[in-house]
């Protein structure tokens, strides 16, 4: 992509755009904000790609780092609510947008939302990166400057809490 490979750019977009949207959406709880930021991120990507040095790390790590920084900037400016603070209306809107106003889904979502409120900020971010954006441990470790082992331990701790909270399954 850095060399102007159009196919590579299209492949990156196809792979990462839905995940980025999901990640931002869970952080901002707004469909409009998620769309705007996703679009903005990919435009920034073209401008910033020259600053990416492949010798210093993998592209996806760099990409998610850019995404995180953009979100941090957004929080500073807008003070948007994270995933765990979704309003009832936002969830209703999500249900309608997804075309599946299922009572069970809504119930589970409410339950998950309440559960995430109990997590710390770091745990919530780790959960969102691993479970929502589906970023591999190695990349999260590189992004957050932590060891992979400590992240796995942290995720195990989150899993324990989930197991305790969702005895009947999520």
């Amino acid at each position: 992509m850095k060399k102007g490979d159009r196919k590579a750019a299209a492949a990156i977009y196809d792979e990462l755009a839905p995940k980025v949207y999901g990640f931002i959406f869970t952080r901002t709880s707004s469909k409009e904000v998620a769309e705007d930021l996703t679009q903005e991120l990919f435009i920034k990507l073209i401008e910033k790609i020259d600053g990416f040095d492949e010798e210093r790390g993998r592209f996806t790590v760099w990409f998610w780092a850019v995404t995180r920084h953009m979100l941090i900037d957004f929080y500073r400016e807008k003070k948007a609510t994270p995933f765990s603070s979704f309003t009832e209306d936002a969830v209703e809107g999500m249900m309608i947008d997804a075309g599946a106003p299922n009572i069970d889904d809504k119930f589970r979502y409410e339950k998950l939302k309440d559960f995430l409120k109990t997590l710390s900020g770091d745990e919530r971010e780790l959960f969102e990166l691993r479970y929502v954006a589906e970023v591999p441990y190695t990349e999260i470790a590189a992004m957050l400057g932590k060891s992979e082992g400590s992240l796995r331990v942290a995720v195990l701790r989150i899993k324990g809490k989930i197991r305790k909270e969702f005895k009947d399954g999520i």
Binding site: R6, Y13, D14, A17, G22, F25, E35, Q39, N102, Y131
Partner: protein
């Protein structure tokens, strides 16, 4: 089955669906992203470029042409019969050959094609004849069986008679099919005969236009003769209907073969013009308006006097010489008396006298 979040470490599908972007958004953003990317890197969407489309069409066309050409070459080299599905490709290949062949080789090529048509017609007729023999024997066999069964059991049941009816109907259907096939084949044969006639006609025409001489003419005439000799009754009938080609063939081949050995006995005094190379033996060609009878007897026992008015093409020298021949057919002239030039035009005034 319950989704196991502990195993896959991702949200259940229903929940993932809730946080998925709209399709329109993903599609529109992708277009915008790639447009900005193109503008940034000055690249073009090759798939949308008219040149790429033209290239793709060109490649597809080239593949089609290559396949057609390959099949046509195969059909040509295998000399597929006229009722073969590849036959039209064979004819296509022949047409291409006719376009690219040198003009002086065109008559021979046409004769080769005419020989092919002859062969195809003969094969079709042969197949027809074989089919006829098979059909006749089958029909007589069925007739025999039917008569045999009727004699052996005069009190045949109704089911037996119905079976016989079905058999008869099958025989009638089969014979209808065979007759319709025969009509198709006879149409094909007549079409081939027409093509053959055209090939020979055009071959003679090309030979006239390209002014074949010596070995080429001999070769051409030989092929033409063998083609006509090998032809079947159908072709001969075609020639009898369109006899013009045959007449022209006789004129072209017959005349050239007789040139130099013939003397116009009925019109001994005439002026002939000929071109000659550096030889002292001239052959007078038949350029005497075709009057009188052709034949070798005309000059025998006669003296052949001639006045030669010549003009060298290369040096422009002109002069007159007189020469005498005693065989009445061939005029011998010492070229040194005319000119040292290698190519010249001579006007010959001939006169036959009693020896």
């Amino acid at each position: 089955m319950e989704f196991n979040i502990f195993k896959k470490e991702k949200l259940p599908r229903a929940m993932r669906k809730l946080i998925s972007p709209r399709r329109e958004f993903i599609k529109n953003t992708r277009m915008r992203f790639l447009a900005i990317f193109d503008a940034h890197y000055h690249v073009h969407d090759r798939s949308a470029s008219p040149f790429v489309s033209a290239y793709k069409i060109g490649v597809a066309l080239a593949v089609f042409v290559a396949v057609t050409l390959g099949a046509s070459v195969y059909a040509d080299t295998q000399n597929v019969p006229a009722d073969n599905p590849l036959y039209s490709l064979k004819r296509l290949n022949e047409s291409v050959q006719l376009v690219f062949v040198k003009p002086e080789n065109k008559p021979q090529l046409r004769m080769r094609l005419a020989a092919r048509r002859t062969e195809e017609i003969v094969n079709l007729e042969q197949e027809d004849a074989n089919n006829l023999v098979t059909t006749t024997s089958t029909a007589s066999g069925a007739g025999n069986a039917s008569s045999a069964s009727s004699t052996s059991s005069m009190s045949s049941t109704s089911s037996a008679s119905s079976t016989e009816k079905i058999n008869n109907r099958d025989t009638i259907d089969g014979s209808n099919k065979r007759s319709s096939k025969k009509i198709d084949r006879s149409k094909l044969i007549s079409s081939l005969a027409k093509d053959l006639h055209e090939e020979i006609d055009n071959s003679v025409k090309d030979a006239e236009e390209s002014d074949l001489k010596d070995e080429r003419l001999d070769d051409f005439c030989g092929k033409l003769r063998s083609t006509i000799a090998a032809s079947s009754s159908v072709i001969r009938r075609e020639f009898s209907i369109h006899s013009e080609a045959l007449r022209r063939f006789e004129r072209k081949c017959g005349e050239e073969e007789g040139s130099g050995d013939e003397n116009d006995g009925g019109d001994p005094n005439a002026t002939s013009t000929l071109d000659a190379t550096s030889t002292n033996r001239f052959r007078i060609r038949n350029q005497r308006d075709g009057k009188g009878e052709k034949g070798d007897e005309g000059g025998k026992g006669k003296r052949f006097n001639s006045n030669l008015n010549f003009e060298s093409r290369s040096s422009g020298k002109a002069g007159t010489t007189t020469s005498t021949s005693s065989d009445g057919n061939t005029l011998n002239v010492d070229s040194s008396t005319i000119t040292s030039a290698s190519h010249f035009r001579v006007n010959v005034n001939t006169e036959l006298e009693d020896d």
